[in-house]
C-alpha cells in the first residue's frame, strides 16, 4: 500500500462514520490536510509507508477522529446510564427469581422431567430478558430524544428533588398496621383450615379444608422451623417499632433472620410436599420461592449497605451505635 493510498483509506474510514451531508467534504479536506502533514514529516523526501503509519497512529483511530467531527446523540445518555443499569439489572434478577420459582414449583417425577422443565424455563428466560432489555433500550432512547427535542418540558426543578429520609426511622402508625397484618397472615399460614372455619362461622367446605391441609411430614418436621424464624422476625420488627427506629443491633438481627427465612423457605420447597393437595402445593411453592428469592436479594443488598457503612463516615441520622 502506498502512503497516498493509506491516507485515502483513512480519510474514507473517518468520513463513512459521519452524517451523509458532511462525508464528501470532510473526506476531501482531511485527505488534503493529512497529505500536507505527511510531506512535512518526510522532510523533503518521498513519504514512506512507515512514516504514514506512524503519522496516522498519532492522529488517532478513525472512530475517535470521526467523533471529534460529529458527536451523535447517545442512545442512552451518560446521565441515564446508572439508572438504566440499575433497572436492567433489577429486571434481569427479578426474571431470574421468577424462572427459578417456576422450576422449583413445577411438579415433576423424574430427573429427565425436571431437566425438560428447566430447559424450557431457561429458554423463556433468555427470550423474555432480551425483550425486556429491548423495551428498556427503546424507552431510554425515547426519553433522551424527548429531552433533546423539548429541553424546557423536562427541565429540572428544585421542587422535584426527592426528600432526604432517615433510613432507620420507623413510622410507628404504619409499622403497627404492618405488624397487625403480618401477625394475621402468620396465624392464617400456621392454621389455614382453622382460619377458614372461623371465617365460615363453623366448618369450612370440605373441598377448601382438603385443599389447605398441610402435609403431615411438613407439619411435623419442617413447619416448626419455618414458623420459628417467621415469629422471631415478627418480634424483632415489633421491638424496633417500640423503639421507634432501627438500631445497629436490631438491624443486624433482622438481617440475619431475613437470611434465615430465605434459606429455610428454599429448604422447605426442596424437601418435599407442603400441602397434601398437589395444586395448592405447587402454587404455594411458587409464591414461597418468589418471596424467598426477593428476600435473599434484599439480604444481599442490605449486607452491601452494612459493609459500605462500616467503610464510610457515619451518615446523618443513621444509628451506628448498638
Amino acid at each position: 500500500m502506498t502512503p497516498q493510498d493509506m491516507i485515502a483509506r483513512y480519510a474514507l474510514d473517518v468520513a463513512r462514520r459521519l452524517p451523509k451531508q458532511m462525508r464528501a467534504d470532510v473526506r476531501a479536506e482531511l485527505e488534503a490536510l493529512l497529505m500536507d502533514s505527511l510531506r512535512e514529516r518526510a522532510a523533503g523526501g518521498a513519504p514512506t509507508e512507515a512514516i504514514a503509519t506512524e503519522w496516522l497512529l498519532s492522529f488517532g483511530a478513525p472512530r475517535d477522529v470521526a467523533l471529534r467531527y460529529h458527536a451523535p446523540p447517545a442512545i442512552i445518555e451518560p446521565a441515564d446510564t446508572s439508572l438504566f443499569s440499575k433497572i436492567a439489572f433489577g429486571l434481569l434478577i427479578a426474571l431470574g427469581v421468577l424462572a427459578i420459582s417456576v422450576i422449583l414449583s413445577a411438579p415433576h417425577a423424574s430427573q429427565s422431567e425436571w431437566r425438560l422443565i428447566a430447559n424450557g424455563v431457561a429458554e423463556d428466560y433468555v427470550r423474555s430478558s432480551l425483550l425486556v432489555l429491548g423495551i428498556l433500550f427503546a424507552l431510554f432512547w425515547l426519553l433522551g430524544a424527548a429531552r433533546r427535542a423539548h429541553p424546557g418540558l423536562m427541565a429540572w426543578k428544585p421542587g422535584s428533588l426527592p426528600p432526604v429520609r432517615d433510613p432507620d426511622q420507623i413510622n410507628r402508625l404504619g409499622a403497627v398496621a404492618a405488624l397487625a397484618a403480618w401477625a394475621l397472615g402468620f396465624l392464617i399460614l400456621m392454621q389455614p383450615v382453622a382460619s377458614f372455619d372461623l371465617l365460615w362461622g363453623g366448618q369450612a367446605p370440605a373441598a377448601l379444608r382438603d385443599a389447605f391441609a398441610y402435609d403431615e411430614t411438613f407439619s411435623r418436621a419442617r413447619a416448626p422451623i419455618l414458623w420459628s424464624v417467621l415469629a422471631a422476625s415478627l418480634l424483632v420488627y415489633a421491638w424496633a417499632t417500640v423503639e421507634g427506629r432501627w438500631r445497629k443491633l436490631t438491624r443486624r438481627i433482622d438481617l440475619g433472620l431475613s437470611a434465615a427465612i430465605g434459606l429455610v423457605s428454599v429448604w422447605v420447597i426442596l424437601a418435599g410436599a407442603i400441602f397434601e393437595a398437589p395444586m395448592t402445593d405447587q402454587a404455594t411453592k411458587f409464591w414461597m420461592a418468589l418471596i424467598a428469592g426477593f428476600t435473599l436479594i434484599d439480604v444481599w443488598r442490605r449486607i452491601g449497605e452494612e459493609w459500605s457503612e462500616r467503610m464510610s463516615p457515619p451518615m446523618a441520622g443513621r444509628s451506628v451505635g448498638a
Binding site: 470532510v26 476531501a28 488534503a32 490536510l33 500536507d36 502533514s37 492522529f59 471529534r68 467531527y69
Partner: protein, 114 residues
C-alpha cells in the same frame, strides 16, 4: 511517572480551553487547517491536528467561521476565516480571557504570600 502523566493531562486540559481563542485569533485572514496549525506552532501553541481540524468544522457549524475551497499553490484546500458573528465574538472572548488571567495572577500572588 504518575506525576508526569497527571501533569500532561492537566496541561492538555488547560490548552484545550485556549484552543478556540487561539484559533479565532489567527483567522482574521483566511487560512487552511495545515497552515493554521503551523502559524499557531510558530507562536508556541502546539495543537494536535486531530483536534484542530474537527474544531474548525465545529466552529463553522456554530456560525463563527466561514469556509470555501480554493486552489492556490497546490491541491484544493478548504480555507476558513471569521464570519460576521465570529468577528463579534472574538473581542468578547479576548476581554474575558484578559479578565480571567488577571484574576488568576491575583490568585497566584495571594497563594505566594500565604
Amino acid at each position: 511517572m504518575v506525576l508526569d502523566d497527571t501533569f500532561l493531562k492537566l496541561e492538555a486540559d488547560l490548552r484545550r480551553s485556549m484552543i478556540v481563542l487561539a484559533t479565532l485569533s489567527q483567522l482574521k485572514t483566511a487560512q487552511y487547517g495545515y497552515s493554521l496549525r503551523q502559524t499557531l506552532s510558530e507562536h508556541g501553541m502546539e495543537i494536535e491536528e486531530g483536534t484542530l481540524y474537527p474544531l474548525l468544522r465545529r466552529l463553522e457549524t456554530q456560525g463563527f467561521l466561514t469556509s470555501e475551497w480554493r486552489i492556490e499553490d497546490g491541491p484544493p484546500r478548504r480555507y476558513y476565516m471569521l464570519s460576521g458573528e465570529g468577528r463579534r465574538l472574538y473581542p468578547k472572548l479576548v476581554k474575558s480571557w484578559r479578565a480571567l488571567t488577571g484574576v488568576m495572577e491575583d490568585l497566584f500572588e495571594e497563594g505566594k504570600a500565604k
